[in-house]
C-alpha cells in the first residue's frame, strides 16, 4: 500500500472505465441487432448505442423546476460510477480483477444494488409522479430478486466451503469451478441454480419482462422520465456496463473455464486468447439471459414480478440448494 500502488490503481481504473463503457455499448448494440433479426427486421447498426450516447451528450440538459437539484444530477453519476466499479471486482476471464483480494462476492452483490438505488433516488428527486411510481416499482423489483439471488450465492458458497478456503473470494470461486466438486444430484442442483440466475438477470438489469420500473408505454419511461441530455446518456451507458458486469458475474460463478490451457498456449497469447474467449462467453450469457427473453415475451405486471420471483424462482433456487446439500450428505450412498 504505497504511492505507486495507488497511482497504478487510478490509471487502471480510468482505463477500465473506458473499456467497460466501450464493451457495454458494444454488447447493447449486438443485443438490439439480434432482437431486430428475431422480429424479422434489419435492425440498427451495431454502433447505434455509441451514436445515441454522442447525440445525447450534445443535447440540452434540463433539470425540472421542482426537482432536488443536487440529487437529480448526482444520481446518474453514482449509477455509472458504481456500474464501472463492479468491473474492478469481477474477474475478466483469465485476467484477475484489478481489486482482487480487496473485495469479495458479498461486496459485489451490494455493489449491484447501488445503481438501482441511485436510479430510485434520481426518480424520487425528479418530482414527477411517473418517476415516483417508477421508483417504487424499482424498489419492489429489487426486494423481489434479492431473495433468489441470495439463495443462489449461498448454495454455491456452501458447496465450495467443503473444499476449505476463502469461499467468498472471486479468485477462489473461479479457481474451483463448482461443476467439478459434485455428483449427479449436485449437477441437477447447479443447473437449477443456473436457471434461476438466468431469470434473475433481466430483473437485475431492468429488461423485459421485468422492466416494470421503466415501462415506456405505461408510465412514460418511469424512473428516467425527467432525465435528458448528459444525465440520460450516463444512465444509458450504465445500463450497458451493468449487462456486461452481470454476465461477467454469471461467468465467474458458473463458467470460469479458460481456453488457453486447452490449446496449451502460454504467456501473453494465453491472456489474449482467454480474454477473447471471455468476450464470447459474455455474449452467450447475454444472449440467453437478456436478448432471447427480451425478444420472446411481453412485460409482466408488478404483482406478477413479485410472485414470480418470490414463489417460482425462489422455489427453483431452493430445490437446487437442497439437491446440493443432499449431494454432500446422501449422494455418497447413491
Amino acid at each position: 500500500m504505497n504511492g505507486g500502488f495507488f497511482f497504478w490503481l487510478v490509471v487502471k481504473a480510468i482505463v477500465i472505465t473506458f473499456i467497460a463503457i466501450f464493451f457495454g455499448l458494444l454488447y447493447k448494440g449486438i443485443d438490439r441487432k439480434i432482437v431486430a433479426h428475431m422480429q424479422g427486421r434489419v435492425g440498427p447498426p451495431i454502433r447505434q448505442p455509441f451514436l445515441d450516447v454522442i447525440k445525447l451528450m450534445s443535447k440540452e440538459n434540463i433539470v425540472p423546476k421542482h426537482a432536488v437539484r443536487w440529487l437529480f444530477n448526482a444520481a446518474p453519476l453514482i449509477c455509472l460510477a458504481s456500474s464501472v466499479m463492479l468491473l474492478l471486482y469481477v474477474p475478466w476471464g483469465g485476467i484477475d480483477a484489478i481489486l482482487e483480494g480487496h473485495g469479495d462476492l458479498i461486496l459485489i452483490l451490494y455493489l449491484f444494488a447501488i445503481p438501482s438505488i441511485a436510479m430510485v433516488a434520481g426518480g424520487f428527486a425528479s418530482s414527477s409522479p411517473f418517476a415516483a411510481v417508477g421508483a417504487q416499482r424499482e424498489v419492489v423489483t429489487m426486494i423481489s430478486y434479492e431473495l433468489p439471488l441470495a439463495v443462489i450465492i449461498i448454495g454455491i458458497a456452501w458447496k465450495l466451503s467443503g473444499i476449505g478456503g476463502d469461499v467468498f473470494s472471486m479468485a477462489f470461486i473461479t479457481a474451483h469451478p463448482i461443476w467439478e466438486n459434485v455428483g449427479l444430484l449436485g449437477l441437477i442442483g447447479i443447473v437449477m441454480l443456473l436457471l434461476s440466475m438466468i431469470i434473475v438477470a433481466p430483473g437485475e438489469l431492468a429488461k423485459i419482462p421485468f422492466d416494470v420500473a421503466e415501462a415506456e408505454t405505461e408510465i412514460a419511461e418511469g424512473l428516467t422520465v425527467e432525465y435528458s441530455g448528459r444525465n440520460l446518456a450516463m444512465f444509458y451507458m450504465a445500463d450497458g456496463v451493468k449487462i456486461f458486469a452481470f454476465s461477467a458475474l454469471i461467468i465467474a460463478l458458473f463458467f470460469p473455464y479458460g481456453i488457453a490451457s486447452l490449446l496449451s498456449l502460454n504467456g501473453v497469447i494465453a491472456s489474449i486468447a482467454d480474454f477473447l474467449f471471455f468476450l464470447l462467453k459474455v455474449f452467450i450469457v447475454m444472449l440467453f439471459s437478456v436478448t432471447l427473453i427480451r425478444a420472446g415475451v411481453a412485460r409482466l405486471r408488478i404483482t406478477q414480478v413479485v410472485t414470480g420471483y418470490w414463489v417460482t424462482i425462489t422455489l427453483i433456487a431452493l430445490i437446487g440448494l437442497v439437491l446440493l446439500m443432499w449431494d454432500s450428505h446422501v449422494g455418497r450412498w447413491l
Binding site: 445515441d52 450534445s58 443535447k59 411517473f130 415501462a215 419511461e221 435528458s228
Partner: protein, 144 residues
C-alpha cells in the same frame, strides 16, 4: 462526429393532439418489420425529455392547446417538430370546426416545423420527414 450522430440517432415522441387515429397507425406502421425505421436509428420514446423530434398527429383541439405547448417546451434543444397528416397543417376534414385551437405552427411559432401531408400519409412519407429533420439538425450542429 456530433452531426453524424444526429443523422443516425433520432428519438421521436409521438403526441396525439386530437387525431382520428389514422396517422397514429401509420406512424406505428413505419416501425413494423416492413419499413423498420429503427434501422436508421429512429426510435419511439415514452417521454418528451428524451426526444429530438415531436411527431404531432391531428388538429389541435381546445383541450389539447396548453398541453401541446407544454410538451414542446419540455423537449430539450435542439428539437424539431414533425406535423403528420393534413389535419395538423390546415385542419383537414376538421377545417373551421368549432373546437379547434388552430394549427400547431400558429400556436407555437418559434420552432422548426416539417409537414407530412396526406390523410393519412404513407409510412415512407413519414420516414422521409424524419430524414429531413435530421438533415436540418445536422446543419444546425455544423453552424455551431
Amino acid at each position: 462526429m456530433i452531426p453524424k450522430a444526429f443523422k443516425r440517432s433520432l428519438w421521436v415522441f409521438h403526441v396525439n393532439s386530437g387525431s382520428c387515429n389514422g396517422c397514429d397507425i401509420e406512424i406505428i406502421a413505419a416501425l413494423t418489420p416492413r419499413y423498420d425505421a429503427e434501422r436508421f436509428g429512429i426510435k419511439l420514446v415514452g417521454s418528451p425529455r428524451h426526444a429530438d423530434v415531436i411527431a404531432f398527429t391531428g388538429p389541435v383541439t381546445n383541450d389539447m392547446k396548453d398541453k401541446v405547448i407544454r410538451i414542446i417546451e419540455q423537449t430539450p434543444d435542439p428539437k424539431v417538430i414533425v406535423v403528420v397528416g393534413s389535419c395538423g397543417i390546415g385542419g383537414g376534414v376538421f377545417h373551421e370546426s368549432y373546437h379547434l385551437a388552430g394549427p400547431i405552427d400558429k400556436l407555437y411559432p418559434n420552432a422548426k416545423y416539417f409537414y407530412v401531408p396526406g390523410c393519412p400519409p404513407r409510412p415512407e412519407a413519414i420516414i422521409q420527414a424524419f430524414a429531413k429533420a435530421w438533415e436540418w439538425l445536422e446543419e444546425l450542429e455544423v453552424k455551431k
